[in-house]
């Protein structure tokens, strides 16, 4: 049996979509998305999207990188195989700093990319909206709102009424 994925509504202009998003946001929905051919400034605010959590991954990656660099050089030069180089101490944060700094950047970059993939559930080879033929225009000249059926506030009749009231056109249900 086909399962309902959600309800889609189309909008012709960015202001129409923007204000519709505000209404969906204020109605308290959480599992929904807007599909647009190009980024719309301020839409994340209209949708009530909070700031991304990716920076937390970045910070964790950076701290890991810095500690890795420092401990690697301490372990190699001062602990496992103590070696005098250029009359310098076995370990000093001075000469360990450039490496730690590089690893901070490298691990931050890895964690940022990784965190972004994780939070976006990428790679995603299938998404139900790809089956709906009208979404071709989401890459061209039309704007869509999709409210998912697994949203706690989802109710086929009420959600449809909300989208109609918000000015949505060609409202349709799409399958999982």
């Amino acid at each position: 049996m086909k399962k309902n994925y959600g309800i889609v509504a189309a909008f012709d202009t960015t202001p129409a979509l923007y204000h519709a998003c505000e209404q969906v946001r204020d109605a308290g929905y959480s599992q929904w998305d807007a599909l647009t051919p190009f980024p719309i400034h301020g839409l994340d605010f209209a949708m009530g999207v909070r700031r991304s959590k990716v920076p937390r991954f970045s910070l964790a990656g950076g701290i890991t990188g810095f500690c890795t660099g420092m401990s690697l050089i301490w372990w190699a030069n001062a602990y496992e195989y103590p070696l005098v180089v250029g009359g310098k101490p076995y370990f000093s944060p001075m000469f360990a700093f450039p490496i730690s700094y590089e690893l901070t950047i490298l691990f931050t970059a890895f964690a940022t990319i990784g965190g972004m993939f994780l939070l976006n559930k990428l790679p995603m080879h299938y998404h139900p909206v790809l089956k709906a033929p009208q979404f071709v225009r989401a890459m061209d000249d039309r704007f869509y709102i999709v409210i998912e059926a697994n949203d706690p506030k989802f109710n086929p009749a009420q959600t449809r009424a909300l989208l109609e009231q918000a000015g949505g056109k060609d409202i349709a249900e799409i399958d999982e």
Binding site: F45, R51, G86
Partner: protein
């Protein structure tokens, strides 16, 4: 966002405030002069004055560079704050005037501030500067005539560039001609290298030559980093002041504020990169010709000043500004900007004041009466600079209202929900 209401583009009167800063400035200068005349500590007062004037020159150079970088990259978001930096650069003329006492001292009493100007000045080992081979080799560069000519040249470059940029920008307010934007872009194209050279040589002549044996290729860049950080710190203070007055309400949004703080944040890292590189290369090479400069700064309480700069100039602002919220909220941003502006002053003290030596040729401590003269100098020169800014402030619109990029700047993408 709609165009700003006309009432908010007509800046309110700043005459009373300007008067207060002028009085503070004159008071600071008079106190510094009295300190120079009435105490025996001539060199200490003179070097403290050098700290004060270098500090405010750094602020102005940074503002000049921010304006020129804005033009050369055809920036959008910063159009709205550019006008304040243009007002800030009106201080150059007064800085040139305020530098005169130091120039006069170079002719009247050579060696008072810069030891190499006095050829009979005794250096370590019983030699004099005049018999020092390291001075003789540098004498064509380090002589009073070159010093005077170069210093006059620096100020001519800065005054000329800033007045050109200001004139074109203010003229655009009235006629809206796009040619002024192109003129400023051309000014920026040759102005950036000129300013870069002038500020590097200024750092070398005014500060680095205090220890003329020493050399560091990072010195000009170090000063540049401080210039930029100082200008942005004062930019944030100006922004907050204009918010408090109500001028910036509905004009300067959270995202432009965040952009300014993000740029300031980038320069936290840039400053650290440059300053660490200078220290690290000298530490690693371990050549006495270079290390002595840092050895001086590990004597007495200077080692703690060094630590304060390491942690207070880099680690603290770096960790503080990591979060988006602190970069986009006025309170924390204002706090860290005042902090950075203060620590830059200490960084300049760290570079200049150890030139004051005791009988054993060791640097005099940081915590001394000279801090009082640093304070009077900073207030003195700063009062005049802020007065110059406030005097320029009512002569033009609050924002470059007819700049081609102004709409783009005003509608700069609003920040997301916190």
């Amino acid at each position: 966002m709609s165009a700003p209401a006309s009432s908010s583009t007509a800046p309110g009167s700043t005459a009373a405030l300007a008067g207060k800063f002028l009085i503070a400035g004159i008071a600071g200068l008079v106190l510094t002069a009295l300190g120079f005349l009435l105490t025996n500590n001539h060199q200490g007062v003179a070097l403290s004055y050098l700290v004060g004037i270098s500090y405010w020159t750094a602020v102005s150079i940074g503002m000049l560079l921010l304006v020129m970088i804005h033009h050369i990259v055809d920036a959008g978001w910063s159009t709205v704050i550019r006008r304040q930096f243009e007002h800030g650069t009106s201080a150059f003329l007064w800085l040139a005037v305020l530098f005169l006492p130091l120039l006069i001292s170079a002719w009247v009493k050579p060696g008072l501030v810069w030891p190499w100007m006095d050829l009979s000045h005794e250096i370590h080992g019983g030699h004099t500067v005049g018999t020092d081979i390291l001075y003789q080799k540098k004498a064509s560069f380090l002589n009073v005539r070159m010093f005077t000519g170069m210093t006059v040249g620096f100020f001519i470059v800065w005054v000329w560039l800033s007045s050109r940029l200001r004139k074109a920008s203010f003229a655009q307010d009235s006629d809206g001609e796009v040619k002024w934007t192109f003129m400023n872009r051309k000014t920026a194209a040759f102005g950036i290298p000129l300013t870069a050279l002038a500020l590097s040589f200024a750092a070398i002549y005014w500060m680095k030559s205090l220890e003329y044996h020493w050399f560091s290729t990072m010195y000009g860049v170090w000063f540049f980093a401080n210039c930029m950080r100082a200008a942005m710190a004062f930019g944030v203070m100006i922004t907050c002041w204009l918010y408090a007055r109500g001028d910036y309400k509905g004009i300067y949004n959270t995202n432009q504020f965040h952009c300014l703080m993000a740029l300031a944040y980038a320069f936290v890292v840039f400053w650290a990169y440059v300053t660490f590189s200078q220290y690290f290369l000298i530490w690693n090479a371990n050549v006495p010709e270079e290390t002595f400069w840092y050895n001086i700064r590990e004597h007495g309480d200077w080692v703690y000043v060094g630590m304060l700069i390491l942690f207070g100039h880099f680690f603290f602002p770096f960790l503080f500004l990591l979060s988006y919220r602190r970069k986009s909220t006025r309170g924390p941003a204002l706090f860290i900007s005042i902090w950075i502006a203060t620590i830059i002053l200490i960084d300049l003290c760290y570079n200049i004041l150890p030139a004051l030596k005791d009988a054993e040729n060791q640097p005099l401590p940081f915590l001394s009466i000279n801090l009082l003269w640093v304070l009077t100098s900073v207030v003195g020169v700063g009062g005049i600079c802020v007065w110059a800014y406030l005097r320029s402030f009512p002569t033009a619109k609050l924002i470059p209202i007819r700049d081609p990029r102004i709409v783009e700047s005003l509608t700069h993408h609003e920040a997301t929900a916190p």
